[in-house]
Amino acid sequence: MHILANHQASVRAIMSTSALHCSHIVIAACASLFALTVAIGFAPQVAAAQTPVNASARVTPGAVIHLRLQSGSVQLSGWEHDSVHVSGMLAPGESWALRADGDTMRLRAEGIPRGLAAPSELVIFVPRRSVLIVRAAAASLVVRDFDQTVDVATAAGNLLVEAVRGTVRAETMQGTLTVLGPIPRVEASTASGTLLVSVPYDTINDTVYARRRESAAAPKEKPFGVVVLRSVSGRITFDAPHVDSATIHNVRGDVRVVTSPSDSGRVYVTSHTGRVTVGWTLDTHALIDAITQRGGMRGRLVAYAMPAMSGQPTPMSGAEVSMEVDVETLLVKTPSGVRVTHALRRLPDASLFPILIRAVRGDIVFERVEIRPAP
């Protein structure tokens, strides 16, 4: 009898526990269903909360265009007309304002955008011959086809700048920054984002491709005049057949440089702990002077002379003879690190201009680069 009573009590306990579990499951299922219904039900309304914008205004020829944005994605192009035109969708909570202010036309997205589901998506045309200044909090921007100075900065967002015939100043703290030339002067910087400056080469997964030209008969244009690139932890890639002056600073991000300084030009790269890769082609025309204080050096360089222990290479017999040598055979060890000074042309050649690499703890790597046709 006592056993039966205990058994009954156990049965009751199990039944009540099961009922409790079942009720929890039912409640959880109902809550999930409710949340899903709310999400599905409200999603179109959130999307609908984006407001369309379609605005235009006349601009005095030569006026500065000053654009201020919050977030979202914006395509900004130059055109031939003396007017600005804005179209697309604005995020909920944002409004659009166009205002002439002396010689400056101010375009501004005002208000704080609400939610992430419906960001602003804008297409903006401004006069190609105007100076352009863009400031954004968290917008991703594509800027193309301008004749004058372009100064564009966003705190967090990706930037692509191309086909600009004037000076470019571009910066983002956290996004990816890409500048495609030819551009006479570029100053570009990131804090943690990747930075790619290239023309007429495209680098895809470390393979360098020659970009297609619109016309094969087009004159060979000068890719870059002056280039200044800075990052702290982002990877910097600079690919260009030649450059007048390039200054590249990184702190702990890697740097990859494939270029040749033009007549009287100079390429100066510094890195504290990041790896510096110098890519050279058979057309590279420079004297490389590389020092790393606590890092190592590896890779191969083309030699038109036999390396010697004294550090002074001996010209090889045979004018056309060249060979690739391990950089280990060229480096000189000093108390302040290891150094390689090496000419990427046959000696003696008085017209060599330097590629200076200075690393503290980072490695320096030399590699031959094959330029492949565009895929």
Binding site: R135, A138, Q174, A191, R252, R358, R361
Partner: protein, 173 residues
């Protein structure tokens, strides 16, 4: 014969069961849990705020010299002016950051990137200073010159970063 489906008397139930089925106890428990939750979340927020205010720790893994114990407190004489310039830029950045906290327009991921970048640049300065110090102790003039060049570049990197970030922040506000 006892009815197996008859409700159990309170006395037959275990003590814990009686306790959890008593609404008064459950109410007290809920109030205690709520108070504990509020207290813990406030504490966590305070810790996060305190961490944000603290000077960031150096990155000793990538910049081993940044944590050297024998580093002199003053920078080498050649870079004193640059050191002061960077200190001024840092102070101006902090003032701008304080104003930004009230506006809240700068995105968090931008601020996080900036905080990490400041740790890296400061660590590179300390690391380069340790190299200068090592060269001085060894009496190697060439190594000292090389380390001073690195130190100058490290200071310039931090100064440029602070100036850029401050300009961006001020224009965003």
């Amino acid at each position: 014969m006892t009815d197996p489906f008859a409700p159990e008397s309170d006395a037959a139930q275990p003590a814990w069961r009686r306790w959890i089925e008593n609404p008064k106890y459950m109410l007290v428990l809920a109030v205690v849990a709520l108070a504990a939750g509020i207290w813990m979340s406030r504490n966590t927020s305070r810790n996060a705020a305190a961490r944000a205010e603290l000077p960031p720790p150096a990155d000793c893994r990538r910049f081993p010299g940044a944590c050297a114990k024998d580093l002199p407190s003053a920078p080498p004489a050649e870079v004193v002016a640059l050191h002061a310039e960077v200190a001024a830029a840092d102070s101006a950045w902090r003032a701008t950051l304080e104003r930004e906290r009230r506006s809240g327009v700068f995105p968090d991921k931008g601020l996080t990137a900036m905080r990490d970048a400041l740790v890296a640049t400061e660590s590179s300065i300390l690391d380069a200073r340790s190299l200068v110090n090592d060269a001085e102790q060894l009496g190697d003039a060439d190594a000292r010159t090389r380390a001073l060049e690195s130190l100058t570049v490290a200071y310039e990197n931090k100064r440029e970063l602070l100036l850029r970030a401050r300009r961006l922040l001020e224009e965003a506000i």
